[in-house]
């Protein structure tokens, strides 16, 4: 954790807040463009195979985890494109960041399967 925070400090020495946010925005926009059709396909297919709802929740959770990973991957790519000669270990920062968020998405998926769907369905 300490190593990660040190790397983050280094990142903000090399890049301004505005540059990091701009890269993040790019990551979110492009990964959304990629994942919107995937989400629609999964939700529309789930509506037809509602008797396999849990399977589709697992697939949607997996897609959301991939979405988070793609956001971070593209953000890292955008930052490297901004400053190709940067000394910050951008890839490992965003990999750690994506792992944290993927874990959160995974937990939300489990909550849906084991808590929310049994309570709210029907």
């Amino acid at each position: 954790m300490k190593v990660f925070l040190n790397k983050c400090r280094q990142l903000f020495k090399d890049f301004s807040w505005k540059e990091v946010l701009d890269a993040l925005l790019g990551g979110i926009v492009y990964s959304t463009l990629i994942f919107v059709p995937i989400y629609i396909i999964l939700v529309e297919t789930a509506m037809i195979f509602m008797h396999r709802l849990n399977t589709f929740v697992i697939l949607i959770t997996f897609a959301a985890m991939m979405n988070v990973y793609t956001i971070n991957k593209l953000t890292a790519k955008a930052l490297i494109l901004k400053k190709p000669d940067t000394t910050t270990d951008i890839k490992s920062i965003w990999m750690t960041h994506s792992l944290i968020w993927m874990t959160i998405v995974f937990i939300i998926g489990l909550l849906f399967i084991f808590v929310l769907i049994p309570i709210l369905w029907v």
Binding site: I40, E44, M50, W121
Partner: protein, 350 residues
């Protein structure tokens, strides 16, 4: 962001048109509806009766619901077409003119009136052996369907109660007398009561082509909760439609009587319930059979009123079983009335 755009622009430009085509296939709705398998809903989770609280049923009684996709996208149509469990058909008649929200409203009222019908039939059946059980109900006439040419279409909602119409020979409050009292003019003042108990009057004009107002009423009985014992509570659910009537009736009856009619079995089924205890046809038989089979039910009740009729639900169920490779023996049970279902279950216990 600009760096990513510059880097990705050649790919974005190449994929833009296929991407937009894909989105069109995914979101553009078409005039069809699709029935797909759904699940089982245990009635005791949907209707709670404050009676026999110490009684624990060994088995369960569930309604069988299916998923109806109104106006699917092209993508859903294609997926559904290749699924053995789905049925796809074009939206026709007045249903084609209804919005998805209006179809949901109709479905809600079908469910609402079916629950009250189940309560009435079950309470009256249980009352035979237990006079403590009482139920009181009143008849109301509700708006059931609206043609696209109905004047003041937006003012009248599904489920609004018909109160009166100022007819040729005075005020008419009985639906069957409307036609004979609206012959001399093209426009008449109708009074309705909405779901907030507010009365309103609208002028309805006859359509020039059909010479009709374009509204259909249906009489239903509504339980008076204040004068009914034991008290009950209906839980809100996403399930609509009248097809749970029979199973709701069985479950309510089971909550009111001392014996356990479930016999420890997982009971499901389908069929509307009439106020006289008769069972009526439903749609989506194939999907309901598939749902019941996937959920491994022990007994599945299905309406059987005329075995010579091609669309008799039991005949349809047998056809669906053949199509899906399911053996119907011993668990798909044809019934015509609530009493038939009750006799079958009580027969299992003897």
């Amino acid at each position: 962001m600009n760096e990513l755009t510059n880097k990705a622009w050649p790919i974005v430009r190449l994929l833009l048109i296929p991407y937009l085509c894909l989105l069109f296939l995914l979101v553009y709705p078409i005039q069809y509806y699709m029935d797909a398998p759904g699940g089982l809903a245990e009635v005791e989770n949907l209707i709670e009766i404050d009676y026999n609280q110490e009684k624990v049923a060994q088995g369960s009684i569930s309604t069988t619901y299916i998923i109806v996709v109104n106006r699917p996208s092209f993508f859903q149509f294609i997926v559904g077409y290749f699924s053995p469990y789905t049925t796809i058909a074009a939206l026709t008649g007045s249903y084609a003119d209804y919005t998805n929200e209006e179809r949901s409203q109709i479905s809600y009222w079908d469910k609402y009136t079916s629950v009250d019908a189940s309560l009435i039939v079950a309470f009256l059946a249980a009352q035979i052996d237990n006079p403590d059980i009482t139920i009181s109900y009143v008849e109301k006439v509700l708006v059931y369907s609206k043609a696209s040419y109905l004047s003041n279409y937006q003012s009248i909602a599904f489920g609004d109660e018909f109160i009166k119409v100022e007819g040729d020979n005075g005020t008419v409050t009985v639906v069957s007398e409307i036609a004979n009292n609206t012959l001399l003019s093209n426009a008449y003042d109708f009074t309705f009561k909405n779901s907030n108990n507010e009365m309103y009057t609208v002028t309805l004009t006859k359509d020039a082509t059909t010479n009709k107002f374009g509204i259909t009423f249906r009489a239903s009985y509504f339980v008076d909760k204040e004068l009914t014992f034991p008290s009950y509570r209906v839980v809100n659910s996403n399930i609509g439609g009248p097809s749970g009537g029979l199973l709701q009736t069985l479950a309510i009856y089971n909550m009111l009587v001392k014996e356990d009619i479930t016999q420890g079995l997982k009971i499901a089924g389908t069929g509307t319930i009439g106020y006289d205890g008769s069972v009526g046809y439903i749609g989506g038989v194939k999907q309901k059979i598939a749902t019941a089979y996937m959920n491994k039910v022990d007994v599945f009740f299905i309406p059987s009123l005329d075995s010579n009729y091609y669309y008799d639900n039991y005949v349809e169920a047998i056809r669906a079983c053949e199509e899906l490779g399911i053996n119907p023996d011993g668990w798909v049970i044809p019934i015509a009335t609530f009493a038939d279902a009750l006799d079958y279950l009580q027969g299992l216990g003897e």
